[in-house]
């Protein structure tokens, strides 16, 4: 059961389209798992619909409709064409296949948007951060936020650490706990910079999370993150 949700302010920023791309990715994945927030987000869309209905009409150019119909005429027949670069059905392109990722139980049942993200990042490259913690950075087409999978081994303890930016964690598989509680698949956590925690995976299985961390302002180049690790571990 999901106990931790994005707050209504964040859902509204998502529904109105101002929430940054990487944060929206995490909210979207949560919505694909959480009927409660899905309903809230539909209500927020309805507010958008209400504002559209109520907005002050502005005349468009007289040729606008004719131009549009011309464009429609040039459109190949048949309902809604798929994007050329995304095959119909399952979001993830199969071209970059990797059997190790395919067999990975933690990756077997992911929300659709995460599957799509995974598709573009195959094969995943895991880096060992500490004995219990591995991470795989994900390319998302933006560089203001670092997006990554983190996996904690069964019963593994992650060193106490803080983060330099706002951090969102979405549990995807297994569960972990820290001083504040236990988090299970679908749970959405927001931590402010400076908050310290020490996650521990539960004993029965390993834990996979998606994390989105606001990058420090100093990160500029596309490879900035290589020399700018976001996690600052304290000496044990």
């Amino acid at each position: 059961m999901i106990r931790h949700h994005p707050d209504s302010n964040m859902l509204l920023e998502y529904a109105s389209g101002s929430l940054p791309w990487a944060m929206s990715l995490a909210v979207s994945a949560h919505l694909q798992l959480c009927p409660h927030c899905r309903r809230a987000s539909e209500q927020l869309n309805e507010i958008g619909g209400g504002l559209l209905e109520d907005s002050a009409p502005q005349a468009t150019s007289g040729a606008a409709l004719a131009q549009l119909m011309e464009r429609i005429d040039q459109e190949p027949q048949q309902g809604e064409p798929q994007h050329a670069d995304s095959p119909a059905g399952e979001g993830a392109p199969v071209s970059r296949r990797n059997t190790r990722d395919d067999r990975d139980p933690a990756l077997a049942r992911l929300p659709q948007v995460i599957r799509k993200l995974l598709g573009g990042n195959r094969p995943l490259k895991w880096r060992r951060v500490s004995p219990a913690l591995k991470m795989s950075r994900l390319h998302t087409g933006q560089d203001q936020y670092e997006v990554a999978f983190h996996r904690i081994s069964r019963g593994g303890k992650v060193a106490e650490h803080d983060h330099r930016g706002r951090e969102v964690t979405l549990v995807l598989y297994g569960s972990f706990s820290d001083a504040d509680g236990v988090y299970s698949p679908g749970d959405f956590l927001l931590r402010e910079p400076g908050e310290v925690h020490r996650p521990i995976a539960t004993q029965d299985q390993e834990c996979l999370c998606l994390s989105v961390v606001e990058a420090p302002v100093s990160v500029t180049g596309p490879l900035g993150w290589l020399v700018n690790p976001l996690l600052s571990f304290r000496p044990a």
Binding site: L31, Q32, G50, S86, P93
Partner: protein, 196 residues
């Protein structure tokens, strides 16, 4: 009541476009929605876009409305809400295209993957009594001005809470609580009106 009929009317026209590729129906939708889409982004009170950019957005939104009409389901959303979501995604696309850097390309995730309203990717949501769009517009008009103002800035100008706070010279916490109060107020209005 007049408005209520009209509201259902737009949904019916959309269904006709979806099922029969009905051009006459589409033209009526265009005449109604194109000026609203433009006004949402460019009017006396809102200038999120230049007039030219707003015109470009109108073209793109209405083109997608034509293409996607086959997936419109009047049981799930009103025409206004459905078109709003297309318009929002389109706007994110446009802003993203303009700010995109060379090296950021090559990512498989697209706007419609993140802001995905298709029923297949969603958990089943028990449909509540379907609210008419008129109730929502009325509810919005009933909000105290400082609350509707932040909602308009968020939706129509596409501003984040912190951008709104900075612009209005308010603490972030104040903007957040105005938004929450507005949502709370709308929810009571809507649930009261939603009851048969």
């Amino acid at each position: 009541q007049q408005t209520q009929t009209r509201d259902d009317d737009w949904s019916r026209l959309l269904v006709q476009v979806g099922t029969h590729r009905d051009r006459a129906a589409f033209e009526r939708l265009f005449h109604h929605y194109a000026p609203l889409i433009k006004g949402f982004h460019y009017s006396r009170s809102v200038q999120a876009f230049s007039a030219e950019a707003a015109d470009e957005l109108v073209q793109e939104v209405m083109f997608r409305v034509w293409r996607k009409a086959t997936s419109f389901d009047p049981a799930r959303a009103s025409a206004n809400t459905w078109i709003y979501t297309i318009m929002r995604n389109c706007r994110i696309d446009m802003l993203r295209r303009n700010s995109r850097r060379q090296d950021a390309d090559g990512c498989d995730v697209e706007v419609d993957d993140i802001w995905d309203e298709s029923p297949e990717s969603q958990p089943l949501v028990v449909l509540q009594h379907k609210r008419s769009q008129r109730d929502i517009a009325e509810g919005l008009r009933g909000l105290p001005p400082e609350q509707s103002h932040v909602l308009e800035k968020a939706y129509m100008e596409g501003k984040s809470h912190s951008e709104i706070a900075e612009e209005l010279g308010l603490p972030l916490g104040t903007v957040k609580s105005r938004v929450r109060l507005a949502l709370k107020k709308l929810e009571t209005i809507l649930s009261k009106r939603g009851a048969p």
